[in-house]
């Protein structure tokens, strides 16, 4: 049914109803305008849910660089627009006050984190990688050849003191660089939560 002010007043039969309910304007226009206020002018950008391995499509409604609304992507054939409670709550991560604003540093023995710059964080990490790599380097080790039983010295090129826990929660490209970085600096000790 088409809802117009005239029709509504006819239905109610009394202009008092309009006054009592606070109405006195075009309902259809109001509904449309209310919707427009939130989503009009938004750019819709698809993304992917960050929780279980479903790969459900998200649709982010962005206006002036800000996230206005997040829902399921109806064009993604996996979820066809539906989302579970966790995925539907993902908008709350975008501007969460709980998210740290910058890198943090905790000194040995300290009971607090202090803010540091990215520059300082990268500098400390790179120097530590070099330091531990250099002091724990194993270039060769003696093995018993499994086929011949003979003792042999073989090249192994391992940084024994460095380990890495990668992630099933970052993108493929990041996950790949985790693997590549670990092996280039010399650590085969690279694991992640797929194991658990």
């Amino acid at each position: 049914m088409k809802f117009t002010r005239r029709g509504f007043l006819k239905l109610s039969g009394l202009s008092v109803a309009a006054v009592a309910s606070g109405l006195g304007f075009d309902l259809e226009a109001t509904a449309a305008h209310g919707h427009a206020l939130k989503l009009a002018g938004c750019t819709k950008i698809p993304s992917i849910c960050h929780f279980c391995s479903g790969g459900c499509g998200l649709l982010l409604h962005i206006k002036d660089g800000k996230l206005v609304h997040l829902d399921g992507n109806p064009d993604n054939p996996i979820n066809e627009g539906t989302l579970c409670p966790k995925a539907a709550s993902l908008a709350q991560v975008a501007y969460s006050p709980e998210r740290p604003k910058n890198p943090l540093y905790r000194a040995p023995g300290s009971d607090e984190f202090v803010d540091i710059t990215w520059e300082e964080a990268y500098d400390r990490i790179a120097k530590k990688i070099k330091e531990v790599r250099d002091k724990t380097w194993t270039s060769t080790e003696e093995i018993t050849n499994a086929k011949t039983g003979a003792k042999e010295t073989v090249t192994v090129n391992r940084a024994e003191g460095i380990c890495m826990i990668g992630s099933a929660e970052v993108d493929n490209e990041e996950s790949y660089l985790l693997s590549k970085l670990a092996r280039l600096i010399g650590t085969p000790f690279h694991e992640h939560q797929a194991r658990i």
């Binding site: 996996i78 905790r106 270039s139 992630s167």
Partner: protein, 806 residues
């Protein structure tokens, strides 16, 4: 699944679930933990599909079931073995499929044996098996000898029949607590409605017998002829958004990207590596080394093979063992990306001890996790913890471009939707900056040890790293054409040493000027949910793995309603609605190659019995070594699944009391309890509102309002026995630790009858820790760090506890 089918991946897709006639959902509460699965299960149910759920609790998934059975945690192999026995004894298997697509007829070595719970070849000192006797009888050419019929006493089928003859419904019922009639009903229901589909998740893998439980599923599906078919298969419902991708990218100690076995100190040269792992692994590792070292990787320097760090098999800690290696002093620096071990590792007190022993801990995450703040936990003295900690705030999923691979191998690309909040950065940028800085520190070094860093191919942009450039490295390049690889066929056909790819299973994802992971064509003309033009599924955009096995001897679909692929005799080509998973699209069903349903296995068939076997003796190009083409994936604790009690169990092993639990299990925890002190079985689980260790979801107010705290779910009988009512605080304790939570008194858990005695199960969600907006006690205070010997997955799903009013 890899030792059974050749690939470890989920066989079908979410959308494909609508094609099933029956589901066995056991070890997964998908209604809560993978809600998208339930959407498609319900679509199949609307068309009449049956749902069977087996779980220690009456879950939300169980509420949708036609058949529900409550099981004692950790005993699945007992009832699954009984199903295998029943299918064989009553000839309920698909004979054409078993004869053509499995190794049922292959004759097993006379040296193979099984007695009193042990397979032949066990070394009690190392607690490992020597696989030598788990072999086929071989002919003069080294090929497996096949029996003339399934009745041959040496053949795999008879070995299976003998092995599972001990698994009667009665024995299974005594072990599992599922009534005999219910086990029969499960077996009959699942065999009657085809295609049947099996789902599992962590409920099945988090055991010291996890791999063998999945092997039972594989055996059942091979016997019933359900693999390679629309609506069939085994769906590993994986736990994290990109766990398929991160596994593909080898964030694991025994692999390089693309499931290349990680070289050990026994493979001194690239030729040694090829000799051990087969020529089939030679091409991928050369392509990977070319991706990693670019022009510096040449045939003369073994493509840089010597630059790779080599594993020492005697010291290959898995993640749950990392923390011991920290405490023992080996590891001094941990780089930790997007994971929260302080909450997620079983018997978690070990984590704080390990992290406290480090010189530096680096954590990159969205929120400041318990792991980054481990030194703040109550009971620790920060003044005595010398570890430097650096926290790097990471950009969230929609704040960065990149791809993720979902459970069904679908690689989906996304663009940046929002600028990163605050001064957060994508992990990609962090890795790029860190590597470049380390390289700068080594600049000018002539030390051979620094060559891998200085000779690496690492160029993803000057300031901000480009994810697309990285994806293109995965997709690969062809030196001959000078262009990106257009399709996996091009990679497979190229001579060794002429192509590079960072992960060969992704070869062809980025043809020149294209990004197939970013395709948005969502049409579904067949109605089977294949969506072939949506994103990109590895390998080669195949949506249903092993789909050759959906065809008959003439290469035509056995199921006319669910046609995936077929042989077109006019074009002389395998064609179809899906990408054909065949050895060679031009080899018809009358050729040896054209009959192969499981091309990743050296035998070309599905493996009911996981025998040790390597096919062929062809030398790879560019090497002098004579090497096998392909080696079989192995299960380290037996070629056929055997039931073992969990490491902590309330009862004796009914099948072989002298071999109580898995003799190969990796034990990390030091303290274990007995049923006199700790009489109840604890099983941990997830809820729909929280995700894994909760680092993100416990910082989302909406979710905290719905699910604010953990609890212990107990039966009414147990509540009565210990004198608590709903909402009372209870202390749950094990030999390793304790925690206090509220009791949830429920009908969802019932008292079971095990081996003639009443047995109680306790259920607890585990996603809480001491930090975040909504802190709570961690269930992993009490769980046990003992792992499956093959997968290394800890037995989170069962340990012994006590419970009392707090």
């Amino acid at each position: 699944m890899s030792p059974s089918f050749g690939r470890g991946a989920m066989t079908n897709s979410w959308q494909d679930m609508q094609n099933s006639e029956c589901f066995l959902i056991a070890g997964s509460n998908c209604a809560e933990c993978h809600p998208i699965a339930m959407k498609w299960v319900n679509r199949a149910r609307a068309k009449g599909a049956k749902v069977i759920v087996v779980d220690p609790r009456f879950t939300r998934t169980a509420s949708q079931a036609d058949v529900f059975a409550q099981i004692r945690p950790g005993t699945d192999i007992a009832y699954l073995g009984a199903m295998i026995n029943y299918y064989i004894e009553n000839r309920l298997y698909d004979e054409f499929y078993v004869l053509n697509f499995t190794n049922a007829l292959y004759k097993i070595s006379k040296d193979f044996g099984f007695k009193d719970g042990m397979f032949s070849g066990f070394n009690p000192e190392t607690r490992k098996y020597d696989y030598a006797s788990w072999a086929y009888q071989l002919d003069a050419e080294g090929k497996p000898v096949k029996a003339d019929s399934l009745d041959d006493p040496d053949c795999v089928f008879q070995k299976l029949k003998t092995h599972y003859s001990r698994y009667t419904f009665e024995v299974a019922s005594n072990i599992t607590g599922i009534p005999v009639a219910k086990i029969k009903q499960i077996a009959d229901t699942f065999a009657a409605a085809k295609p049947g589909n099996i789902f599992y998740a962590l409920g099945m893998t988090q055991h010291t017998t996890g791999v063998q439980g999945i092997r039972c599923y594989a055996i059942i599906q091979l016997l019933l002829g359900n693999v390679g078919k629309a609506g069939g298969g085994i769906q590993a419902l994986r736990g994290e958004p990109n766990v398929q991708g991160s596994t593909d990218m080898a964030n694991l100690n025994a692999n390089l990207p693309g499931y290349i076995p990680y070289p050990t100190n026994q493979e001194k040269t690239l030729n040694d590596f090829a000799a051990k792992h087969g020529s089939v692994q030679y091409k991928p590792i050369v392509a990977l080394l070319k991706a990693w070292f670019g022009a510096n990787a040449t045939a003369e320097n073994e493509y840089g093979y010597q630059w790779l760090p080599k594993n020492n098999p005697a010291n290959m800690p898995i993640q749950p063992q990392f923390f011991s290696k920290m405490e023992e002093g080996q590891f001094k620096l941990l780089l930790n990306w997007g994971s929260n071990s302080t909450v997620s590792i079983p018997d978690r007190k070990l984590v704080a001890r390990g992290l406290s022993s480090l010189e530096m801990l680096v954590v990159a995450d969205i929120f400041n996790t318990e792991t980054a703040q481990f030194w703040k936990e109550e009971g620790l003295n920060p003044a005595k913890i010398p570890t430097e900690v650096i926290f790097l705030p990471a950009a969230f999923v929609y704040e960065k471009a990149g791809s993720m691979t979902n459970s069904s191998r679908l690689v989906q690309w996304k663009e940046v939707a929002l600028k990163p909040l605050n001064d957060c950065h994508p992990d990609l940028d962090m890795l790029d900056h860190i590597f470049k800085r380390v390289r700068a520190l080594y600049s000018g070094s002539n030390d051979p040890k620094d060559e891998p860093i200085l000779k690496a191919n690492w160029d993803y942009g000057d300031h901000e790293a480009s994810a697309l450039k990285v994806l293109q490295e995965l997709g690969g390049y062809n030196d001959t054409t000078g262009k990106p690889i257009a399709a996996i066929g091009e990679y497979l056909a190229a001579p060794i040493g002429t192509v590079s790819t960072g992960c060969w299973v992704y070869a062809g994802v980025t043809p020149e000027g294209k990004n197939l992971a970013d395709r948005r064509g969502n049409a579904d003309p067949t109605g089977l949910g294949l969506n072939k033009d949506y994103a990109f599924a590895w390998p080669g955009n195949i949506r249903v793995l092993y789909n050759r096995a959906s065809c008959d001897a003439q290469g035509q679909p056995v199921d006319s309603k669910r046609k995936l692929i077929w042989w077109d005799p006019v074009q002389n080509l395998w064609v179809g609605n899906d990408g054909p998973d065949v050895v060679d699209k031009t080899k018809g069903p009358d050729t040896p190659e054209g009959k192969i349903g499981f091309k990743q296995n050296p035998e070309g068939v599905g493996r009911l019995f996981a025998a040790t076997y390597k096919s062929g003796t062809v030398a790879p190009e560019g090497t002098a070594a004579v090497v096998p083409i392909r080696g079989a994936g192995m299960t380290v604790d037996g070629p056929m699944p055997e039931f073992y009690e969990p490491i902590e169990s309330p009862t004796a092993n009914l099948l072989h009391p002298e071999v109580q639990s898995n003799p190969c299990a990796k034990i990390v925890s030091k303290e274990f309890g007995n049923p006199d002190e700790y009489p109840y079985v604890l099983t941990s689980y997830g809820v729909v509102e929280h995700f894994c260790a909760g680092a993100i979801t416990r910082n989302i107010p909406w979710l905290n309002e719905i699910a604010p705290e953990p609890y212990a779910e107990i039966s009414k009988n147990l509540a009565h026995k210990i004198g608590v009512k709903e909402g009372d605080e209870v202390e749950v304790s094990s030999a390793r630790g304790k925690l206090v939570v509220r009791a949830l008194v429920t009908d969802r858990i019932q008292t079971l009858k095990i081996n003639g005695k009443d047995q109680e199960t306790i259920g607890m969600p585990w996603s809480w820790g001491f930090a975040s907006l909504s802190p709570g006690p961690s269930t992993n205070n009490v769980t046990m760090n003992a792992c499956d010997p093959g997968a290394g997955t800890p037995e989170y799903k069962c340990c012994l506890v006590n419970i009392r009013r707090a």
